[in-house]
Amino acid sequence: MYRDHRFAQRRMSDALDEALTPRQQARFARHVADCPECGPLLRSLIRLRGVLRSIATPSVPPEHSVVPGVLQRLRDEPGPGSAPARGSP
């Protein structure tokens, strides 16, 4: 039981993201169904993710678009090869 509990706690986010193998998922589901700590935690994380998605910025109306400002800055720039991109892979 304790090993299953540790396993479930460690893989909680993977379960949320459906990134467990079928065997792991079965083990996880068995534990969560009975555990008074892991079951509510999983369900609260599912609800949390639902509300996080709901605050994503909707499509931007033209009057709030940043595109014109970016294009304006670009028009003053020389072409490619003039400076490094910070963080480029």
Binding site: E18, L45, R47, L52, L71, R73, L74, P84, P89
Partner: protein, 200 residues
């Protein structure tokens, strides 16, 4: 249980269409790069705004990210999707700005930055929604950049784990660890505002 990790909700345009524009931009075709700006500037701005909390800073970081991308696009190798590369530059730019302005008090997002409660909701439900939204925004702002960016990219913007990890420049295991800690921290901060679990 949730969206499958293999099915990202964000695939702005087919990668092949980006590839054509990127190839032309590499040859110095400014109009091709401007099409990429039109595709991604507002979406990148939305991400950056959640990382810097200030509309002016977010616009500056977005502009700077595109300028850096334009200057160095001839060295973009195409190992990743263009928007992943661009977002990485933008997230790093946001990080740089927040570090530079850490001493300045955070400015709240404008009302227009977050969607209002569904007008079909009753007054009590609307009030609950607004409380939850305020608690969420506050909890996200309280996260360090290293935890905030994974949460914003994965759970708010809906990128896949692979895409978001690539943007952060992290391996998937390290990314997932940060994401999990961020989720737990935000869940702890807003637990009293989350919709209640239905009673059995």
């Amino acid at each position: 249980m949730g969206d499958a990790d293999e099915a990202p909700t964000v695939t702005p345009v087919p990668a092949s269409e980006d590839a054509d524009l990127v190839a032309r931009a590499k040859q110095g075709d400014r109009l091709a790069f401007e099409d990429l700006v039109r595709r991604y500037a507002d979406r990148l701005h939305a991400v950056v705004l959640r990382l810097v909390d200030d509309r002016h800073d977010a616009e500056e970081a977005t502009q700077e990210a595109f300028l850096r991308a334009w200057r160095s696009i001839d060295r973009f190798k195409g190992d990743s999707q263009f928007f992943t590369w661009l977002y990485r530059i933008g997230v790093n730019e946001a990080h740089r700005l927040t570090g530079r302005r850490a001493a300045r008090p955070a400015v709240s997002l404008d009302e227009q930055d977050v969607p209002p409660a569904d007008p079909a909701l009753g007054p009590d439900a609307r009030a609950q929604h607004d409380d939850l939204r305020a608690a969420l925004e506050s909890a996200i702002r309280a996260l360090d950049h290293d935890y905030r960016a994974p949460l914003v990219l994965r759970d708010v913007e809906g990128l896949s784990t692979a895409q978001a990890a690539a943007i952060m420049g992290l391996g998937e295991a390290a990314f997932k660890s940060r994401l999990h800690r961020a989720r737990l921290a935000v869940r702890d901060a807003v637990r009293d505002h989350l919709p209640q679990e239905p009673r059995a």
